[in-house]
Structures are given as structure tokens and as C-alpha cells.
């Protein structure tokens, strides 16, 4: 349900003429290999006037233009990386749904593995400490305790 509020906002913002999803038959390339690459690329590119939709899913006019643009670049012989670079140069990092690693996104990319490693380290340290504690010999009795122990043993009726 909540998704819908966003979706509706997206619809209002992008003012599409229909709510039918994305890629139109007339946009598709004849070459199936190129078309498949275009689809994969489209899924990594954001429709910038929508809420969290890739240009492959969106029916906003801008998404249509971008889909055509991606296909034009591919037909011109660009590699996947070149297409992405071209779009980033034009529209900024915002267009990428998977942000590139940079100082700005260091925390974003670093947090999941960092947290996992921290967790593992803490657990290993805790386990080692526990094992260390278990192997430690019991502390020796003080002189006073030795005397008491002897006394108790001597007093006990069984011995």
C-alpha cells in the first residue's frame, strides 16, 4: 500500500499518458544481442523523474528518451561501460542505481562487509577469551586458607 503513495506521486510527477509498463514494441532493436544488452543496462539506470524506478520499468517520457538514447549508443558501437560513462557525464551519478565506489559512497559500500567482519572478530575474541579463562588453573590457596583446609580435613570424622 505504501508503495502506491510513491507510485502515485511518481505518476503525478512524471505525468505519463498510460500506466502500462515501459519498453514499447517500436523501441526495441532488431539485433537480439544488442537488445538484451540494452535491457540489462536499462535496469541499472534510474528514471530521474520517478520514484525509484529504472528506465526499463518506467513509462515516463524521459525514460522513453533515455531508453532510445541507450539503444542509439549501443548501435553506434559503444561498450556497456562507455554507455554508462556517457549518461553519468550528462546526468550525474544520480542516474546510476548502483552507485560507484568513491569517497562519497565509502560508508555505503563499506558498512555491510565492515559490520560482518567486526561481528566475526568480536565473536572470535570473545570465544578465545572464554577458552583462555577455562584453561587457567585455579588460583593457589593462600597460607591462611591452607591452614584452614588442613584443620577441616583433620576435624572431619571420616578421615
Amino acid at each position: 500500500m505504501r508503495r502506491v503513495f510513491l507510485l502515485v506521486l511518481g505518476l503525478i510527477l512524471s505525468a505519463p499518458t498510460s500506466s502500462w509498463a515501459a519498453v514499447q514494441p517500436d523501441e526495441m532493436l532488431r539485433n537480439p544481442a544488442l537488445e538484451a544488452r540494452a535491457r540489462t543496462l536499462s535496469q541499472q539506470l534510474r528514471c530521474m523523474v520517478c520514484q525509484n524506478e529504472s528506465i526499463d520499468e518506467s513509462d515516463a517520457p524521459l525514460a522513453h528518451d533515455l531508453r532510445v538514447l541507450v539503444r542509439e549508443r549501443l548501435q553506434a558501437g559503444d561498450s556497456d561501460a562507455q554507455v554508462l560513462d556517457f549518461l553519468v557525464a550528462r546526468y550525474g551519478e544520480f542516474v546510476l542505481l548502483k552507485p560507484r565506489l568513491s569517497w562519497r559512497t565509502a560508508i555505503l559500500w563499506g558498512l555491510p562487509p565492515g559490520l560482518l567482519l567486526t561481528g566475526i572478530t568480536l565473536l572470535v575474541v570473545a570465544a578465545a577469551r572464554r577458552r583462555g579463562r577455562a584453561q587457567e588453573p585455579a588460583p593457589n590457596l593462600t597460607a591462611a586458607e591452607q591452614v584452614r583446609l588442613k584443620k577441616i580435613l583433620a576435624d572431619s570424622p571420616g578421615s
Binding site: 503513495f5 500506466s19 502500462w20 509498463a21 514499447q24 514494441p25 529504472s54 542505481l97 548502483k98 561481528g119
Partner: protein, 661 residues
């Protein structure tokens, strides 16, 4: 008059919440049993008044009282009764009313069923529950009052958004809220334990049924939302890593971790401090979800800044409750005694592994959802974090978890036998390897990871079966004896096996639908054929159909097998709603076993042709079927006598009376 009654009832509920939030705590401090016992009746009364307010709102919707602004904006007298009812929670004010109704409902349940709780714990927990309720009552009354009147009542309402006029929406939000808000009980118990400065294994036993119930509701709530998005949004996707979906996934991940750590705490007295923290975090994530969705911060940081009243209020609730809870935790947790030693290779160890990976997965969803907001607020730089990011971080964390999952239940407490568990899982592993090899051989040029994913899914499912087989000794004992063992098996053991099996089923569905589905996009004229998988669709024409408050343009498609056998008809449509001047896509779905054909229609073109999108989604229904199996597992576990809320203590006297010899 009805609206005013509702408004007044809500104010009374706020007053009761304030009493319930203070008096019992004073009672626990001064050791006054009368003040402490005030908690339960006030909780019941508070729920009664909130229910009255909710019923008042519902009545306004049913009788279409358009002098109430909220009803005018979101309903219409032409809508069927069910949608007039569901439009109550199809908007901000109404959904907050549902939120507090469920919150106070849970409070009332604790009041009724909590007879076996220690008086101090019960009083404190209900008081904390009342603080949360008071904060949200205040939020509704001050910023989101659904009972506001319009001076001159309009003749007709503005209609509910067409996309929300769907049977799926009748159940999805209430279930999701039951899950979200259900975790508030665990939160209240955690805070109560910290206030009292005392916690023991019994705490986990009292809290676990509530967590389990909330988890079950959240599981089916998320699955229901996913299925609804799948058939409504018209392109056959079932999970979009949308911030709003993530807001429900995060409490689910944390809640799943909590469910497992509470087991360790109950059985072995270990992980107490961690469990308390998880209880706090799980509900905090529910609150953050509410904030994300309700404050408008997701749309843009700027909308949040221009209309800040609601957002700032929820942010204040967040800061006070999460900050306060964590501060209390930092102060009091070191006083709690940690207990229960165990070797790394043991049931406890497996559950710690589960917790580590689940919380990390949860953290990666959290950072992915909030990072763009934080970065924009701090530096003004705009980045997008979408599905490719989550697939790259969440997947690698979840797969190890699934691989280790079958080992957990086969390990002993304290010190487990990894080699023994591995031997018992040998059959499951061989089966998984065979499936993997078969999938690899059958798929031509599909994703490399897909056979691996299918193998893991099968391993999880077979592992759950192995667990039950080992416990009932079904392969070693005669059938009748094994059956007796199966009946005697604790229901919670069955619950575990079901829930784990269900997760495997869901994973298999996800892998199959994503990797091995096919898609056709085409422009068709009457009489054209379109082939997909082993089916052939023929377009036989367009016609129109009038609904209660919409008009459908329907495309009719005949579905045949490749050899010409008729299977049926698919009728996708485009539905236009005149009141809002909006059109929605109604996809047609044809179920074949657990696979589906999915057909959606584009705008009719000038020349009478139609654009269609056709998908074959193999095994797609397993995704939601798995969630249903997980729910069943939770229900089985909940029915375990040991966990039943209010179950009498096992009679120890009987054992004592038996003669010694």
C-alpha cells in the same frame, strides 16, 4: 455527531494512556500493588475508546458522510462497500488510526492474557506500551486528525485512488501493521526489564509468543504486498527494493533474528543482553519505517522541509523512543548478568551465526535505504541506491545463511557435532547437487548463479525434511512407531521445520521466476499469434465492459498448447476511472501448476492494434506459497503448549507425589 464522538473518544484514550503510562510505574517504585494493578483495566479501557474512535471513522465511510474532510477526499458513494471500508487505511490519517488501534489492541491482549506474568514486569510493560500509544494519539490529534469537518458538505466524494481499489489492499495493510506494531510488545517488555534491572530466561518465554505472532503477520503482510504489486503494477515484478518495501523488510529481518536469539535465551540463558538490544532495535525499525513512509522524507528532503509539521513530530517520537531506549540500555544493560557458556560449534553457535548474518543483512538494507537521504541532507549530493546495489550486498549475505540453516536444528546444545550433522545432511546435499547439475544442464545461457541458487533452495528444503526424519526416526523404526514419535514431537520442532522449508520454497520461486522466465513484447492485430514457452496466444479482439465505478477496455486472447489443444482465455484490460480521470492496467494471469502466464495490455493504437507484454513465470507462485508455509510453521510453533500465553505451569507436584522406587 458520529465524527465528533470519535474525536472525543480519541482524546479520552490519550488521557487514559497518560494514566496507564505513569501510575503503574509509580506503583512499582513505591511497591503499591493497587497502583500497579491499574495497568490492565486502563489498557482495556484505552483500547475500548480507540476502537470506538475507529468505528466512528468507519461509520462515516460506510454511510458516505462527505462533511468529514477525510471521507470526502478518499471515498465515493459509488464505490462498493468493501472499498469504502478499505479506503479508511488508504490515506495518511486513517492509516494512523489503524496503527493506534492495533497498538492498543496488543496492549489489551497483554492485559487479558498476561495473568502469569510477574506483577512488576506486567505493570512496567503496559506502562511503556502506553507511552508509545500516548505519543501516537497526540500525533493524530495534533497533526493528522481524521475527524475534521468541512463547513459546507459536498454532494459527492473524490474517490479512492484507483490502484488502491483492489481486494489485496483489504488485507495487506492491516496484516503489515499487526506485524510492525506487534513488535512493540517485545520493545515494551525489554524496556520493562531494563527499568526493573532484572532479566531471566523466563522473560524470553513470555516475549516469544508475541514476537512469533508479529513475525507471522509481517511475513504474510510482506508476501501479500509483494503479490499485490506483482499483479497490479503490470510488469510482473514481485520485489522492487523500494524504500517503502525496505521499511517492512528491515523489521522482518531484525524480528527473525530476535525470534532465534530468544530461543537461545530461553533454553540456555545466554545472549540475554543481545536479545534485549534486538527487541529494542526491531521495534525501532518499525518506527523508522513509519517515519520514512509518513513524513514524506522519501519523496524528497525538500518536501520534508517545506511541510515539516508531521515529519518533525514523528522524528521527535523516533528520537525520544529510540534514543531513550538505547540510552536506558547503555545505562542498565551492564547490570544484567550474562550466562550460559557454549562452544562455537553448537546449536547456540549456529543461532549466533544466524543473528550475525541477519543483522548485517538488515544493516545493508538500512544503509542502502537511508544513505541517499543522509548524503543529500549533509552534502547536497544526489545519488541513487536501487535494486542492483541491494542484489549485490543482500544476496551474498543471505546465501551463506541459507547454506548453514539446515545444520542448526541438527546440532546439539552447548557442544555440537558438525561431522555428525554433515553426515546426516548427506542425502540432502546429494539431492541439492543433482538439482544443481540438472538445472545447469537444462538452462541455455541463463545466469550462472541460478542453478546454484536452486541447489541451495533444495538443500534448505531437504534439510528441513531431514530434521523431521531424524527426530521421528522414520527410516529406522516401523512406520507406526515413527508416527507416534511424529505426533509426540514438540510442535515448535515442527514449526522450525515448516518455517525453514518455507524459506527454501520461496527462494526456489525467486530463482526460477527471475532466471528462467521469458518475456515477449509485441504489437498485435486481431488474429495474430504470440508464442511463449510451450503456449500460443491468439488475439481475438477488443471489447468494453462497464464496472460499478469504472469502464474496462478488454483484450481477448485464446491460449492453446503448441499442439493446438485449447487451454483457456486470458482477458487483460485497461480500466479507466472517470472520477479521477485515471487509467490502470489489469493484467490477466493464468495459473499452470505453480507457474503463471502473465499478460498485460498497452493503450490501443490508432490502427486498432494493441501492444502487449507477455511473460511466462515458471514456479513463481512458490514465492508466496513459501511465505504461507512459513506462516503455518509459526502457527504450529505458537500452538506449542510451552509457549502458549497464559498456559498453566506444568504441575510439579505430581512428580513429587510419585513413589520414589
Amino acid at each position: 455527531m458520529i465524527a465528533e464522538l470519535g474525536h472525543y473518544a480519541l482524546m479520552l484514550a490519550l488521557g487514559l494512556a497518560l494514566i496507564q503510562g505513569t501510575m503503574p510505574i509509580v506503583g512499582t517504585r513505591t511497591n503499591d500493588a493497587v497502583l500497579m494493578s491499574m495497568a490492565a483495566p486502563t489498557a482495556l479501557a484505552q483500547f475500548a475508546f480507540v476502537a470506538m474512535a475507529f468505528t466512528a471513522l468507519a461509520t462515516c465511510y460506510v454511510i458516505s458522510d462527505f462533511s468529514v474532510l477525510n471521507v470526502f477526499e478518499n471515498s465515493n458513494s459509488q464505490m462498493p462497500l468493501i472499498y469504502r471500508l478499505t479506503s479508511i487505511w488508504g490515506n495518511h490519517e486513517g492509516s494512523m488510526m489503524l496503527w493506534v488501534s492495533i497498538l492498543t489492541f496488543f496492549g489489551a491482549l497483554v492485559a487479558v492474557f498476561g495473568n502469569n506474568l510477574p506483577a512488576v514486569l506486567k505493570a512496567n510493560a503496559l506502562a511503556v506500551q502506553a507511552w508509545i500509544a500516548a505519543a501516537f494519539h497526540l500525533f493524530i490529534l495534533m497533526t493528522s486528525n481524521p475527524f475534521v469537518r468541512i463547513p459546507q458538505a459536498p454532494f459527492e466524494g473524490q474517490d479512492l485512488n484507483p490502484i488502491l481499489q483492489d481486494p489485496g489492499l483489504a488485507f495487506h495493510p492491516p496484516l503489515l501493521y499487526l506485524g510492525y506494531v506487534g513488535f512493540s510488545i517485545a520493545f515494551s517488555f525489554a524496556i520493562a526489564a531494563l527499568l526493573e534491572g532484572r532479566i531471566d530466561a523466563a522473560w524470553a518465554r513470555w516475549v516469544r509468543p508475541w514476537v512469533l505472532a508479529a513475525w507471522m503477520c509481517l511475513t504474510v503482510g510482506i508476501a501479500g504486498g509483494s503479490y499485490w504489486a506483482y499483479y497490479t503494477l503490470g510488469w510482473g515484478g514481485f520485489w522492487f527494493w523500494d524504500p517503502v518495501e525496505n521499511a517492512s523488510l528491515m523489521p522482518w529481518l531484525a524480528g527473525t533474528a530476535l525470534l532465534h536469539s530468544a530461543v537461545v535465551m530461553e533454553k540456555r540463558g545466554a545472549l540475554k543482553i543481545w536479545t534485549i538490544l534486538l527487541a529494542i532495535l526491531t521495534f525501532s525499525l518499525s518506527l523508522i519505517g513509519t517515519f520514512l513512509v509518513r513524513s514524506g522524507v522519501l519523496t524528497s528532503v525538500h518536501t520534508f522541509a517545506t511541510d515539516p509539521m508531521r515529519g518533525v513530530f514523528i522524528l521527535a517520537i523516533l528520537v525520544v523512543f529510540i534514543g531513550g531506549a538505547l540510552a536506558l540500555y547503555g545505562w542498565r544493560a551492564p547490570l544484567l548478568k550474562q550466562g550460559g557458556l557454549f562452544a562455537p560449534i553448537s546449536r547456540e553457535g549456529a543461532l549466533v551465526f544466524n543473528n550475525l548474518f541477519l543483522t548485517t543483512a538488515c544493516a545493508s538494507v538500512f544503509v542502502g535505504t537511508l544513505y541517499p537521504l543522509a548524503l543529500e541532507a549533509l552534502t547536497g549530493a544526489k545519488i541513487s541506491v536501487g535494486p542492483p546495489f541491494f542484489n549485490a550486498t543482500f544476496g551474498p549475505l543471505f546465501i551463506p545463511l541459507m547454506v548453514v540453516m539446515p545444520f542448526g536444528p541438527l546440532m546439539g546444545w552447548k557442544r555440537g557435532d558438525l561431522l555428525g550433522a554433515a553426515q546426516r545432511l548427506l542425502a540432502a546435499a546429494i539431492l541439492a547437487a543433482l538439482i544443481m547439475a540438472a538445472a545447469f544442464a537444462l538452462e541455455q545461457g541463463g545466469p550462472v548463479l541460478a542453478p546454484f541458487g536452486a541447489g541451495v533452495a533444495v538443500f534448505v528444503m531437504a534439510g528441513a525434511v531431514t530434521d523431521v526424519a531424524e527426530r521421528t526416526l522414520v527410516l529406522r523404526l516401523p512406520f507406526r512407531a515413527a508416527l507416534r514419535r511424529a505426533i509426540g514431537l514438540p510442535r515448535s520442532a515442527w514449526g522450525t521445520a515448516f518455517a525453514h522449508f518455507g524459506l527454501g520454497v520461496t527462494l526456489l520461486g525467486i530463482v526460477a521466476a527471475m532466471a528462467w522466465g521469458s518475456e515477449r513484447i509485441a504489437e498485435m492485430k486481431v488474429g495474430d499469434n504470440l508464442d511463449i514457452a510451450h503456449y500460443r496466444l491468439t488475439f481475438s479482439g477488443l471489447f468494453s465492459r462497464q464496472g460499478p465505478n469504472y469502464r474496462d477496455t478488454v483484450g481477448r486472447f485464446i491460449v492453446r498448447r503448441m499442439n493446438g489443444d485449447l487451454i483457456g482465455v486470458m482477458e487483460p484490460s485497461r480500466r479507466s476511472f472517470p472520477t479521477r480521470n485515471m487509467t490502470t492496467t489489469q493484467a490477466a494471469l493464468m495459473t499452470r501448476g505453480v507457474s503463471q502466464l502473465y499478460l498485460s495490455l498497452g493503450d490501443p493504437m490508432q490502427n486498432g492494434n494493441v501492444a502487449v507484454r507477455l511473460y511466462f513465470k515458471p514456479q513463481v507462485l512458490l514465492i508466496w506459497l513459501g511465505a504461507a508455509i512459513m506462516f503455518a510453521g509459526g502457527a504450529l510453533s505458537l500452538s506449542d503448549r510451552r509457549l502458549r500465553v497464559g498456559a498453566p505451569q506444568p504441575a510439579k507436584t505430581k512428580v513429587a507425589l510419585r513413589p520414589a522406587g
